[in-house]
Amino acid sequence: MALMANALAVERASLRYGKFQALKDVTFSASQGQLITLLGPSGCGKTTLLKAIAGFMPLDSGRIDIFGRDMQGVPPEKRDTAMCFQSYALFPHLSVADNIGFGLRQRRLSAAEIATRVSSVAEQVGLSLQLQKLPGQLSGGQQQRVALARAMAVRPGVMLFDEPLSNLDAKLRDHVRMEIRALQREHGFTAVYVTHDQSEALAMSDLVIVMRAGVIEQMGRPEEIYRHPVNRFVADFIGTANIMPVRILSRDQARGEYHVTCPLGQAVIRSATPPVGDHLYACWRPEDTVVATDSGNDNRFTFKVSARTFLGSLCDLSVSPTEDASVCYRIQTHGSTPVSEGQTVDVVIPPDTIRFLDEAIA
């Protein structure tokens, strides 16, 4: 049997508005049941890409296949996609039930079939009691659910989410995020999810695509993206990262051990993948640091604490090397660690938590 076609395949998609290159050679694919997030700052092309998949924006070049079918020239109404809009885009003069059933009526299902599907979808998103209301009578969270239910009701091959949670307050956001993921797992629909919120992307996705200026910077599982960012942009955009230039002093490729100089002094980096050159960037995460308890560790550095933020279980410290106050790093310690501003603290950065970025310095 031939290989199952991908639910969604985007190949070398490019699009420009006048002089602005919104998308450039974007290529990725999603298999059935995957949730893919397009992550990036505003203006990175993620929403443009979503609209191109939905059919609202024709590509200048490249192609988009949905379930193996080329979508070139296929208008939005003929595509097997359904979008959850950032603004919800509910029809204000239609009841919740009519909003949810809108797509089904366009598909000419029988009234009975529509009623059954509407009530079952409404129940799944917890709107059973609101069906007769108008969208204006609902809270933001409820409106968001109507938008979700309306898109889900048509059982699209590919669900498209355009920052669906950005208008909700933080607590509701977490809740709805989990609900969307649960519904997606349960129904097995393929989803493309646009967000600028990296924690949302990490929490929900099977695959994260980090974009900048119309180009894919990195694509991978959330852990991969977080653990092995390829460049300064990704490292900095996903979570908090301390990024520093390093120069290789000696390399032991067989053991994967590299001695380097960096603004902290001399350090050891243990890495399975070799560095791209002799002078490049490396990064480490604040939470990987350990407050030194005994002497004689590798990568043991003394920092001066310039600011301390108590976060309950954790303590966030802004630190600088004792001899160079111009660079600043973030480290995290246990909430109970007795350090205060102005003090020095001895910290170990384990050699295998420092990652080379694929970004050489010219």
């Binding site: 939905a54 609202f56 208008p75 939005p76 109404e77 003929k78 996609t81 359904a82 979008m83 809009f85 603004s87 885009a89 509910l90 029809f91 204000p92 003069h93 239609l94 809108f102 797509g103 366009q106 598909r107 969208p135 204006g136 309306r150 898109a151 048509v154």
Partner: protein
């Protein structure tokens, strides 16, 4: 703590309202009442100086004008014209307003300015040359000539009103309807019509009213024998000035328009932005 019954702002607000009501009474309600009285003056008992009210009231003037003047024909002409003018105007204004309200193109603001020109040029000025143009073009039908003239001069109102309506249409609703598989007709009914409806009806009524009241073009293009209600009214004001007859024609001209205007007002008010756009 004592609380004032009326704050200073309230006082100003009431004074403003009072002033508006007073102006309305003096300039509109009183003349209107006078018109009603004048139209009821009995022909054989003139209403002259010392009498505060007409000595005898009757409907004889109404009957006389109806039977002896061209008023029935003028009424028919006016309403037939207004119906044609509002239909043609809307037909032309909707695509134009769509372009102004929903599209971006170079020269858009210039084009928008251009469509307002008929508002600036006095009707008489354009009508004089317009009637000559019509004959040059071979349009000899007075009715068609007046329809064209009215349409041109009233288009700006319809275009303005409808452009605003079209800009209120939400693109995300258009997209959502398409995304869910709606045909162009359903997209129009779902995303456009609820927002456009009040504007469509209001511009229809306003164009209708303005066409009925229009005098300059009707008079010049229709001369000498094509009558409308305003041209009849004019004939009572000039050479042989008969105030009671003018009062009758004025009322026939104005009363239906006032009713229509009230309906238009209601329609524009019902365009509650929260219901139409979903934004509270």
């Amino acid at each position: 703590m004592t609380k004032l019954l009326f704050s200073r702002n309230d006082v100003y607000r009431y004074l403003t309202v009072l002033l508006a009501v007073l102006v309305f009474l003096i300039f509109l309600a009183l003349p209107f009442a006078m018109a009603v009285l004048w139209s009821l003056v009995d022909p054989s008992h003139p209403w002259a100086y010392p009498a505060v009210l007409p000595p005898v009231l009757s409907l004889r003037r109404w009957a006389e004008i109806w039977t002896t003047s061209a008023l029935p024909q003028a009424l028919y002409n006016s309403y037939a014209l207004a119906a044609c003018v509002s239909a043609v105007t809307l037909l032309l204004a909707v695509p134009t307003a769509y372009a102004f309200g929903r599209m971006e193109f170079t020269g858009k603001s210039t084009a928008q300015m251009m469509t307002l020109i008929p508002l600036i040029i006095p009707g008489f000025v354009s009508a004089i040359f317009f009637s000559a143009l019509l004959i040059q073009l071979g349009v000899y039908s007075r009715f068609a000539g007046i329809v064209i003239g009215h349409t041109v001069s009233l288009l700006p109102y319809a275009i303005r009103l409808l452009t605003v309506s079209f800009t209120m249409v939400r693109q995300d609703l258009v997209d959502a309807a398409r995304d869910l598989g709606a045909s162009p007709l359903t997209v129009f009914r779902t995303a456009y019509l609820p927002v456009l409806k009040p504007g469509l009806l209001a511009s229809l009524i306003i164009v209708f009213i303005l066409s009925i009241e229009e005098f300059a073009i009707s008079y010049i293009v229709g001369a000498p024998d094509f009558v409308t209600v305003p041209t009849i009214l004019y004939s009572y004001l000039g050479y042989n000035f008969i105030r009671p007859n003018a009062a009758v024609v004025s009322l026939i001209l104005v009363v239906p328009n006032v009713v229509l205007m009230l309906i238009a007002e209601r329609l524009l008010k019902s365009a509650d932005p929260a219901v139409v756009t979903g934004k509270g």
